[in-house]
């Protein structure tokens, strides 16, 4: 260990980088391209935020996202004026797009917590460059998810009635209901995700404070960095707190989608009342979340030139997790079909027949194509390392996971026990505008995030720079 970390030989670094990247195989094995030091890592990530001006590509995306978000606000305004009658929900399908979208969004969030918490506990170094980004994705996905149940209550301005607080009516929430468990699970999840994200940001906010040129930018970052100075004692407590937060977030993330699945499984509706639901929902959540991380990371790493930090190895590992969780989801579909026969319940048997061959057969067929057939291509390394193809697969999986929730919600409700009470369901234009609008909200928040906050954890990236290791035997 002889060389100072902050080598100023930029030309040498660039040459090293180029020669290393030329071999594709080498880059697959790497979690960071060779040639990086503390300074180059810090510069590369910090300059995305600190560079003055606006990049045209960012602006175009931001404007589109803003327009979609405005559509969301418009749809919600109409909803508030006219009521939930503008949506497609009615008897017998009282749970339509609102619940489908809620489950879809909350599931997407799960990959962020998995990457930042579970992979932290397993000391997976490849999580570092994607963790911050995935956590932000979690936060925004949970924000989008939260919109739907609250809007679905019909009187969202009374949403606080869901919370236990002393009130003049003397009433308390029904704690035996999974819907109230959901309130606790989702609000805890949102809070803990925010805490996790912010704690991870503190040292990087200090970096931004110390590097900002403008006094205003310096002050804003200084304020939120809380005066972080990187003392050894601070780092020690910081590491303990991060590890404990990861340990707490891991059982939390498993519980959140479990509780979401209880919303269905605790009822007696055919197709919902199944013990496979919790594990199958959790796996589906992680599956859809990784698909969303890939959907976002692939264009962003190309646009900002971050291939050196988010390497083919990251992309490939995410594809592998998608394959594994996709297989669990496929197993869930098989168990659903098996149990409908094995239970010998006529209602369950009819449910699966209706699901596969009934009026919504197209949704079930597309679901099996998107979630069952397409991900099997990920067995091949050539597919996992083909970035544009992987992007398309991730998009298909996103659609597939939305269809899965659509199938579960709609095909179980539209034809249950009494044929006289059967009915068809489809989303109205307002349903679609609200749904697509939340995608706009999600994208809008992400555009702000990548512009104003370092999107990769700089301090964690420093720990995997070769110079970071301490070797006291060679010190003198």
């Amino acid at each position: 260990m002889a060389q100072p970390a902050h080598s100023t030989d930029r030309a040498g670094q660039v040459a090293a980088v180029q020669s290393a990247v030329s071999t594709r195989e080498a880059s697959i094995a790497q979690v960071m391209e060779p040639g990086h030091g503390f300074t180059s890592v810090t510069d590369k990530i910090a300059q995305i935020v600190l560079r003055p001006g606006i990049m045209p590509g960012w602006l175009v995306g931001f404007v589109i996202a803003f327009a979609l978000m405005s559509m969301f606000l418009f749809a919600v305004t109409v909803l508030l004026v006219k009521g939930t009658g503008i949506w497609g929900v009615n008897i017998p399908v009282g749970w339509g797009f609102a619940i489908v979208n809620f489950v879809w969004w909350i599931g997407i969030g799960h990959a962020g917590t998995l990457i930042s918490a579970i992979l932290l506990l397993f000391r997976q170094r490849w999580r570092m460059s994607i963790a911050r980004f995935a956590e932000a994705m979690t936060l925004f996905a949970v924000a989008c998810a939260g919109m739907f149940p609250v809007l679905h209550t019909g009187r969202p301005w009374l949403g606080y009635w869901l919370l236990p607080y002393p009130n003049s009516m003397g009433l308390w929430p029904q704690f035996r209901s999974p819907l109230i468990w959901d309130v606790f699970a989702v609000s805890t999840y949102a809070t803990v995700s925010l805490l996790f994200w912010y704690v991870g940001l503190i040292p990087d906010l200090a970096t931004m404070r110390d590097r900002a040129k403008s006094i205003y930018v310096k002050r804003i970052f200084g304020l939120v960095a809380l005066g972080w100075r990187g003392s050894a004692m601070h780092w020690q407590r910081y590491e303990t707190a991060s590890l404990l937060l990861a340990g707490l977030a891991t059982p939390l993330v498993v519980s959140v989608h479990t509780v979401v699945s209880f919303d269905f499984a605790v009822s007696v509706i055919p197709g919902w009342h199944a013990t496979i639901f919790p594990p199958y929902f959790v796996a589906g959540a992680i599956y859809s979340g990784f698909a969303m991380v890939l959907t976002l990371v692939i264009p962003i790493r190309a646009y900002y030139g971050l291939e050196g930090f988010i390497t083919v190895r990251h992309i490939q590992n995410m594809a592998k997790i998608m394959l594994a969780t996709g297989l669990i989801v496929l197993y869930g579909y098989s168990v659903e079909a098996f149990m409908s026969w094995y239970s010998a319940s006529p209602a369950e048997g009819f449910m699966i027949a209706n699901r596969v061959t009934g009026p919504y057969w197209w949704a079930y067929a597309s679901l099996i194509f998107c979630n069952g057939v397409v991900p099997q291509t990920l067995w091949f390394k050539r597919v996992r390392t083909n970035i544009p193809l992987l992007f398309v697969i991730a998009l298909i999986v996103n659609v597939g996971m939305w269809l899965e929730r659509y199938v579960i919600v709609v095909t179980s409700l539209n034809r249950d026990f009494l044929p006289s009470a059967w009915g068809m369901y489809s989303g109205t234009i307002w349903d679609w505008m609200t749904y697509v609008g939340t995608i706009g909200l999600f994208a809008w928040l992400l555009f702000l995030f990548v512009r104003f906050v370092p999107m990769i954890s700089i301090f964690e990236m420093r720990t995997i720079v070769p110079d970071a290791a301490v070797d006291e035997h060679r010190a003198h």
């Binding site: 606790f184 040292p203 005066g227 780092w235 937060l245 209880f262």
Partner: protein, 182 residues
């Protein structure tokens, strides 16, 4: 103003080192030389520093444990109180004290309180937010959040001596040594 600055005793001395290894080795030698009010600053967590500086065990885990227990008691207690004592509601003869159902929200509040305790505990035990600290008076210290490794010895240290301490730091082969204005 200027008079006051000159008359106050500096906060301490700061030495910059070229690498994490050099910092850990310097920290160890400083502690072994008998200095106690020593701190090290690095742009990323260095596990070896805790041993080199003989840092005490931190109390974050205890705070988190207390937070978690409080969350469990608060969550379960709230449900028991609301459903059994304050507003008992007989629904189909189900027990008022529905333990299996109450576990779920109590589980969530346990995690919520423990996480809040972890974050607030870490921030407050670290003495943050603290927007003024003398180390920031050294211009070079801005590098501590990107690529600089620093060691400080405070003037409050019983072993501190204006010339002796500076000479000691010089012998550790730092990149530079500077006084920290208070």
């Amino acid at each position: 103003m200027a008079h006051q600055e000159i008359s106050t005793v500096p906060f301490g001395v700061m030495a910059e080192f070229p690498s994490a290894t050099a910092l850990v080795s310097a920290a160890r030698q400083t502690r072994e030389a008998g200095y106690t009010k020593v701190d090290a600053y690095a742009p990323y967590p260095i596990a070896e520093l805790a041993d080199a500086l003989k840092l005490p065990r931190n109390r974050v885990p205890l705070v988190v444990l207390i937070g978690g227990l409080l969350g469990l008691i608060a969550g379960y207690g709230l449900q028991y109180w609301a459903s059994v004592l304050e507003y008992p509601l007989n629904i189909g003869g189900r027990p008022l004290h529905s333990m299996p159902a109450f576990i779920v929200p109590a589980y969530e509040t346990t995690i919520l309180f423990a996480s809040l305790a972890a974050v607030l505990g870490m921030i407050l035990l670290n003495g943050l937010p603290m927007h003024y600290h003398p180390v920031f008076n050294v211009p070079r210290f801005a590098a501590a959040s990107s690529d600089g490794f620093f060691l400080t010895i405070e003037t409050a240290d019983p072993k501190y001596d204006v010339q002796g301490t500076r000479r000691f730091l010089d012998e550790l082969h730092p990149l530079g040594v500077s006084d920290i204005a208070a």
